[in-house]
């Protein structure tokens, strides 16, 4: 089994030549000092750290896994040491503000780091994965007293953090949360209830763990508006242990390197974060960033699966390939067989488009934070609102299904542990579920983001995409036509939805896939425009996945349109 190797050359090309990120970032006052050399250096160091320190721990993470005994969770061999190196090197603090102990670098660099970390070791990466959200949540909503105690520790990653939302009966529907917060005389609260699916609820990576918990005050109304947010650490600042217990960890399909904890709050003394009844707001502020991170997990895992399958296809020989010159021996490389070629080039089309879209989205997050221009900010908000659920859904879907295609390249060898490809498929499956299931992403996109303004926001996004398409190339005409079809389909749903309350919910997934395909085509036209055609090696690197996109991926668009239009017609 070969471990994942970060290949930062491709990433750097997409960041600079395709997205022109260094110039865009340097134009912002906050990043005036972030020159291309610095970005390159951070990216190279990230890749080195990931390949050398994190990737080699992936298999033990799966096979040994996190172990629970009597409320104590022991992480797999090497995880703690790697985490200590990670935070002490400043990696978790990459995009946190300098004033909080962070490095004040752009989100897009953090995004690239997390793509590589997830590709190398999804289980390990779950531990720091929630840090940034917790940091922003505390920074923007906690009292000054709480900030003084927790902000810097979380910003630097010296302490890890959790998000305690789900309960046995309350998953997608957080309005059903029952955990109780009873006011105490000193202004704090006694928290009681059970939370499940808490990633990193207990572990031995850090000295302390900071829990952010959704709960209900005694006089709170039912439903989501009755939820408030609380902070309770494993150890209080005075060193005493809180009444927060890990009752067990789940046996899962994969992701064994991350303990998925059942957490019991037994009148645990907690502090309110933000205003009563505004718990969901405080947490959902960070939702776009968190969903982007999950999309990056999908992209990273798919790249890791592709790397393994590609390497195998370049050494395994079986049968003669059709229409190929005959190589030595009795059989050709399986990478020369059309069915295998199709799998490999198709996954690469997904990975590369995914990177362009994810890095672009991270750049938009940087613009939201740092652009002085309200028009730019508004466009960036629109991009993130519309594109993030699409990315979370399709790239986690592709990591599992395309990862399974990569497994297929190995034949029977893919089904056994030896090559590590089946671990990727098992690990990837969870990303379709958490941070909002993919079905909920589709509803978020169509019902909450598109229909809510009659499709105007989506039209604005599509205008922007059209403006950025290369003009007058052979490929720009079908891309423009597809954008227009998507516009028309959007309007059909807008018109038909009032006649049938369930219509939008029925076609939400088809709509999300349609948007994804338009975005993928846009991304690939941008890539092709950035390729130096005079460099044959570079041209060859990007031409096969571009062709795979057109041959095998984009035809899904017409199927999705057909399904949506049929449903709209039936509803009318």
């Amino acid at each position: 089994m070969n471990a994942y190797q970060a290949r930062t050359g491709d990433m750097q090309f997409l960041l600079s030549s395709v997205l022109n990120a260094p110039a865009k970032l340097q134009a912002l006052p906050a990043f005036a000092d972030v020159d291309p050399d610095l970005m390159q250096q951070v990216l190279d160091e990230s890749g080195k750290f990931v390949s050398e320190v994190i990737a080699p721990l992936n298999r033990d993470g799966d096979e040994i896994g996190a172990q629970w005994q009597d409320g104590v969770v022991t992480m797999p061999t090497g995880f703690k040491q790697a985490y200590q190196t990670f935070w002490q090197s400043g990696w978790p603090a990459l995009s946190a503000s300098a004033e909080d102990g962070g490095q004040g670098l752009p989100c897009v660099l953090e995004a690239m780091l997390y793509e590589m970390l997830s590709a190398a070791n999804h289980g390990w990466t779950m531990a720091p994965g929630l840090l940034h959200g917790a940091y922003e949540c505390i920074k923007h909503h906690a009292s000054d007293e709480l900030k003084a105690q927790y902000l810097q520790k979380v910003a630097t990653g010296e302490w890890l953090a959790t998000m305690c939302l789900t309960e046995p009966h309350a998953g997608s529907d957080l309005g059903l949360v029952r955990t109780k917060a009873v006011p105490l005389p000193d202004g704090q609260y006694a928290l009681s209830g059970t939370k499940i699916f808490i990633s990193g609820g207990e572990h031995d990576l850090t000295e302390n763990i900071v829990h952010l918990v959704l709960a209900r005050l005694p006089d709170a109304p039912p439903g989501p508006k009755g939820l408030s947010l609380f902070l309770v650490p494993k150890f209080y600042p005075d060193g005493s242990r809180s009444r927060v217990h890990c009752d067990r960890i789940e046996e899962k399909m994969g992701l064994h390197g991350s303990p998925t904890c059942v957490m019991r709050f037994d009148e645990a003394v907690s502090a309110l974060v933000g205003e009563p009844g505004k718990g969901l707001n405080a947490m959902f502020v960070m939702m776009n960033a968190a969903r982007l991170h999950v999309a990056l997990q999908g992209i990273g895992l798919l790249d890791a699966a592709w790397q393994k399958a590609d390497a195998y296809a370049q050494e395994r020989r079986q049968m003669r390939a059709p229409g190929q010159g005959k190589g030595p021996g009795q059989a050709d490389l399986i990478g020369e067989h059309p069915a295998v070629r199709r799998i490999l080039d198709t996954q690469r089309a997904w990975v590369d488009a995914g990177r362009v879209l994810a890095y672009r989205t991270a750049l938009e997050l940087d613009l939201i934070k740092h652009s002085p221009d309200p028009t730019v900010q508004a466009a960036a908000q629109r991009w993130c609102a519309l594109v993030t659920p699409v990315m979370k859904s399709v790239f986690t879907h592709q990591a599992f299904h395309g990862g399974s295609d990569c497994l297929q390249v190995f034949g029977g060898h893919g089904y056994v542990r030896e090559w590590g490809i089946e671990q990727i498929v098992r690990d990837a499956r969870v990303a379709m579920i958490y941070e909002g299931t993919n079905e909920i992403q589709a509803i978020d996109l169509l019902v909450r983001k598109v229909l809510v303004d009659g499709g105007q926001g989506m039209n604005g996004l599509l205008d922007g995409l059209l403006a950025e398409l290369p003009q007058h190339t052979k490929s720009s005409t079908p891309a423009q036509a597809r954008v227009q079809t998507l516009r028309a389909v959007t309007q059909q749903i807008v018109k038909a939805a009032p006649q049938d309350a369930a219509l939008a919910y029925r076609v939400a997934d088809d709509y999300l896939r349609s948007v994804a395909l338009v975005l993928m085509e846009w991304a690939w036209l941008r890539i092709e425009a950035g390729v130096d055609a005079s460099d044959p090696q570079s041209a060859q690197r990007w031409s096969a996945p571009a062709k795979a996109l057109r041959d095998w991926v984009l035809p899904e668009f017409q199927m999705r349109s057909y399904i949506i239009v049929s449903q709209c017609t039936a509803a009318a």
Copy 2:
């Protein structure tokens, strides 16, 4: 976790009311005594045995798994007792000839039994899964002396059997097999080599194990024509142990209840089966039946996944469903949410169509064996040759991908072991690989079966489907049009293939999916014609999956046609 329950009512309806199987079978002299009551009784008893004895062992099969130590394999708790009951009750011998100790019943009853067994416990079912193939192989190719020693033991299942084909460097390409067979003075052979991925190569279920092994005689030419077939048991008739060793078993993604063995043959004394150089013929004679069994695994596992998801969707409440009357409490059943409804109804559309097609294929196998009419036999051969690879591919694909959709219904609860759904997804994955990968099924269909006669055989199959379509219903017109499109697409490939040697290999999967969708539509029109419209409960049972087929499944057909036509145009 609720274990699989056989629901034989649906199966009986498809067999009798849709396929009219009892009358068709009774018309054959061999089955003159097999009346509808007997068939019903066998089916009911099968279901009872599977639900009561086999299904409860599934979870231990996964969690304990087969264990290897020093060459000895111990099966999970309860497996041996269940197998002894199984063979002593005559189940493995269901379709074996009475003269060999079998029950002489139709293949279709065996097919239904194996669908249920696979649904209940895929791992356990691997053990007897190869028996029938070994039985036919020995019956038709072994010498009288070998038959006297082995045929009845294998027919009844008292001894289990293996097929030893794959070697580390020879998977899909058996022409690369290197295992050597050196003639001995007494007319036997000394077999030396290593075989991998041998299901049930060693275990404690039966007293003896009969291995059928592909190997090469010293003077054999390279490639597939140099392969001969040999038989070597674990214990010879005189009780002595053969030099066949299980060196280890694989750690796999799933299917832990079935030991996947590395088998070492160390000058093992073996007997030739059939003629030298005809080893593949002797094994491939049974390929249609073996592939049908794998398709039935897919159908069974998908049904098992659907059962679990359906039960969960009827008890879990989350959020309000759109366009529904508001039920009690704050939230509706998730089965009322359109995204969940779509998943459940779609999988049912696949399961039911799969059953119609699989039972029909099994009936055709019965006709091949027992029809006195050569025209009927030829049509049955054509059906099996063309439909079997389609079924193997699409139903194993759907078991994994549709099984994953069923997992999604559980949200986070689907990713943990508790509900047993993730085991189904892990177990199902292997069926896309073994018995010829799904890519090879597609090549088998298009290159070896369709193009080889310029599409005539496929046209004949489509004529037959058209003739069996209900006439003049609202749904028959689009079905007829789809058949005509498939005809046209077939002719386009026939015409374009000579210009581009790789074309057929590139579009083989799209072609196979197109054929599958035409077959599914045919199956559902037959089901609808068989439903008693005056019985509201029956009409309701079948109408939702029929609608799901048309809304969500069939639109893929136009995408596949578009891809094929585009590739043909580019090749011309």
